[in-house]
Point group: D3
Chain length 254, copies 6
């Protein structure tokens, strides 16, 4: 299968990190392409930044999705995920949702470990929109401002491990979600030191994408994820126009 | 005070309807400007359409908000509302949130009367994001496809009245929210025939905007609605760039 | 418009404080009368005290409301608010509900800052009855017994500021509600020092009362806030009798 | 033990019905006294009527409770129950709470069968204040106005049985609560015809009162049900004054 | 009445402790038999141990229940309680559920004091299955491994008292549930030192069992607690077979 | 990888159906073994039957799991799932949980289509234990007694399709879960006729099992899914004894 990963942020170094982590866990027959948002911010911590990332992701998805079997929106918080699900006729996955699903199959309550205190509110709202607030033991975050998004795992290794231990001991977490694309792979490297399962968004999303394709569920033509009703529009990019006019679904080429 | 209303959709006829309803209820000293989205769809029924509307609204708000005391996002479902609250230092209101607040002060449980069955999921999620699901008695909708957005009130007057009566009798609603900008003013015209209070999003938002300005609460510099942390960005419009760089807050002119 | 504020407690000094704060924020054309409960306690901290305050408020409302356009129940916890809404045909507002509505339009999660630890349970139950428990970040209270209700703002200025800062930093509050009529005005005076919006019950209630009158929603004749069914009664004051017999609605004079 | 039952309504016929049902189920050594509210309405259907009933109940409890081992507030909806718990140092029980506790020990989800559609909102709010909304399968009510409160069981036997059957079949109820003092005893007489357990508020409350006395839990001096802090008061009846000044607890006589 | 208490664990010393506490509170005419699980573990702390205890309890109940008027499953966490309710036609009670019901009639929010940190997750899930999570103030536990289950009350008296005080002061508990059969009786002995009511599972269950028998609610033949539909089975003990074939209900003898 | 599927029921025909459906969707390198419970009932509809199925599953898992990489508990309702997760050091999956996870990645709200009305309560409680009640649109069931478990798909094809259509149109389902091992494969065969994605428990569980193995999360040694503390036990089968004594984890052979 062909899998499209879209980084809703403009950081190509993070896109590369995501792609490496994705390839490590993907099945041999899965071909992965990773795209970086053409506009937006370096990494998403807030609702406004997520709104920009959602739009940038939609534009890339509209242009490219018809050549793929599934799409992953590769920022924690899943910007634009539910929106894209309405207009694409292939599975669309997000890092948070995918990590939550993995975590739910490994324990009852999970904590989220994240890179900045500012990001906590957005993550909490994402968990809540997934209906899983009752299973959220805590969100624990580094309390400093993010300085270097590319080196964050090395710069804060000790602090991140401590957050994990506190979540287990003080918050009652059965599973830990290591959140945020810049932390992709950390779950794997920390795993030996931490006494509960660690879950990573990128690798979860890649495997769940393969699963949804294998299960073969078709896109809906009824319900709230059917394509939006046809109606007048204006000022949209050709790719998004095509989506709304349902011309872009599975064409031969871009 | 100067109030900016942004219609996240491209329908100028709906913008005019909103403006008329807004002016009818505004205090004498409130000056209202209404803008129409420069890109997007005719009216929003789904999450994808809301995502487009949010971005179009953000662009207009970024360009114009500095000349106003408050902004209203004038589509039910409040596309982009929470995002805009982070970057503007003036009150930002939405039709759904405003109607919910009015309804909560008039009764315990409310129903929402809306124009299309497709719109129900998006409204339900909006109520849920407001934390008010337990007070939602029901959402009742016209079951036909919307044909003429401008004449919807006349075309379906009888059907809309019937939905109101069913919500009161069968669902236990204490208050009814007449939802969607295309129904602006219907609450007023139906009021005499319906036995519980009717709430309208536009007029609620205008009055609540005046209230928030009068109460004088300043914009946050901490908490999850403080401006996003400064960080690299690319490819954004000048207006949105200015917002992210905090240059655009309260300048003398555009 | 003519606005009646009823202090459910017997403290005339608090009534005066409320009235001053109310007049400061009211529109020029709003005339405000403030009445003090004729029986009850000095300030309400518990459910039993609230029950007394509710009855004292009902008696005053029954006697005077027909000369006004809206009534405010001016104690946090809103004693008797929902009950009065059934029997008066004008808007009835409460300090807690009004503050909650303002807070919800300024952020996602709010904390309540209050004057005594004993009062916290009653406030929590009030928030819960409003269906907003998921948006309550915390209730933080002074931990000493209240000594002088009139000077509480001066006596505890430093401690109250500290509670605000803890709610923002440790509890994730986006907005703070300064609760309790004895703290009326504190939101205003603390505002410059605190990094998130502060909300006050009295000023919120006054502005929301003006809004509900302006919106013109009529009283219900169906639903759970319609007047109680006519039935035998005994031993009630003439004013409450008139309410139950629906004689008192909008007479010429008292 | 000595048990005081207070009917918050003025209907002596209902008091007699309650007393008969109470005596039927009480242990041989339990002595029961039943008092009727000295002021109020014939039966409670709304929040305003409940507020009156709460105050009338408080007055009687304040005057008489010191001679008893437990008090039952004998109207569905439990007017004033939590308030009285703060000021009496003996167990205080209510019909709704008691019926809910019995129902929870007999099945997972319960329905409430009640005498008037108007009463449903008040009951729903009572269940919610008990934190048990998730176990409420439905509230089903007679849809006519109550005519003769004393003969309601006979007048509507067939309709009440039908409501029971619908709640089981259509709403998934495991247990049925026959609600409202005027229906006291109906659970017993309907029992043979209905295929799930029926629960009655009066008999549940009597037995639970005996249990709480037998378990011997003392009254709290901390927590939110400790007596209210001493403070100035005015205009209260001697009995309620004594409660607030903690003079009335367990004296020799009235 | 004849009451059967089944200890789902193999500790006969705990069975004796339970029996003593039960007899202390039972009505004079109640005859109590206590049985110990024939297989299982020394005390239950986890879901797997609870699953074993449930099955051991079911076997004993199937063999003996027909000679009794009610059955108590005497381990906190109520292993197999809901399952047994389907197949026995007499009341079945559990320690947690019974304690929760008592606690709900004594205050609004309760904390649970328990013997090991490992046990907290199982208790939390039990409270949640009872639908009472919103009334749970906290679970506080000894943080050491249990060494001697028989002497745990003496070994940790001081630590348990401290947990109680913290729950009241820091967590806002109105009532405390002293959880776990090995702590039976502790509520009574600690009562004088603690400022809020203490609730014990064993004594609560005994009295509630007497109540359910006195109320006379019959077993359901519809709803989700009616006996399971007849169907093929294999490999079950004779006693459980009889239950499933509905032969064992109220026979003359074992 | 080697996957063990345990049917908690005694129906070998259902085990075969499950195995066929599992093999159809499994990756080429996955080897599947399917075992049938050695004791229990023909199919599980109630809590008591689930308790038996859980114990029968635990016995088989204790005997065989050490030779596998993951275990699937193959009855809807997931009998014993959380319990087994504590004692096995490999991933353990259930049909309901797996179907819920798939459904959550395909839409916002799901309905469950099931084979008997009796089964609905057990399913509802399972969804609730997964914390996903807010996303459950409805449970719709055949209303007849199950006659022939092996031919149920053919016997009721038309009725099952109708339930699907009602769930979409009347309940607002975005996704449908076809529940119960006897309906394994129905999602696939109905798929072309139904306008929203259909989800099947067996195929979901197989793919999610492969995913959890691929993600490589290790078993916990802390948190509530760590192995139960070592303690005295008696009367257990050798296999379950070994689990509790942690001897059975990953030995060379049975």
């Amino acid at each position: 299968m062909k899998l499209l990963i879209i980084n809703p942020n403009i950081s190509t170094s993070v896109t590369e990190l995501i792609l490496r982590e994705a390839q490590r866990v993907a099945s041999p027959t899965t071909q992965i392409t990773a795209l970086t948002a053409e506009f937006g911010v370096a990494y998403i911590e807030t609702r406004f930044e997520a709104m920009i990332g959602a739009y940038a992701t939609a534009e890339l998805a509209a242009r490219h999705a018809q050549n793929y079997d599934a799409v992953i929106v590769a920022a924690f918080g899943d910007p634009g995920l539910a929106a894209l699900r309405e207009v694409l006729d292939i599975p669309v996955l997000g890092l948070t949702e995918s990590a939550l699903m993995s975590a739910c199959m490994l324990g009852q309550r999970f904590s989220i470990i994240a890179i900045s205190s500012r990001i906590a509110a957005w993550y909490r709202e994402t968990v809540q929109a997934n209906g899983l607030r009752d299973r959220l033991a805590s969100i624990r975050t580094l309390d400093q401002r993010v300085q270097h998004i590319a080196s964050i795992q090395n710069d804060h290794a000790q602090a991140l491990r401590l957050l994990c231990e506190q979540a287990i001991r003080d918050d009652g977490a059965d599973v830990l979600i290591i959140a945020g694309a810049p932390l992709a792979g950390l779950a794997r490297s920390l795993s030996a030191e931490i006494q509960v399962p660690l879950v990573d968004g990128v690798s979860s999303a890649v495997r769940h994408a393969e699963t949804l394709v294998a299960l073969g569920a078709h896109a809906p033509s009824q319900g709230s994820f059917a394509p939006p009703p046809l109606k007048p529009h204006a000022g949209l990019s050709p790719a998004i126009q095509s989506l709304l006019e349902r011309k872009a679904i599975k064409p031969e080429a871009i």
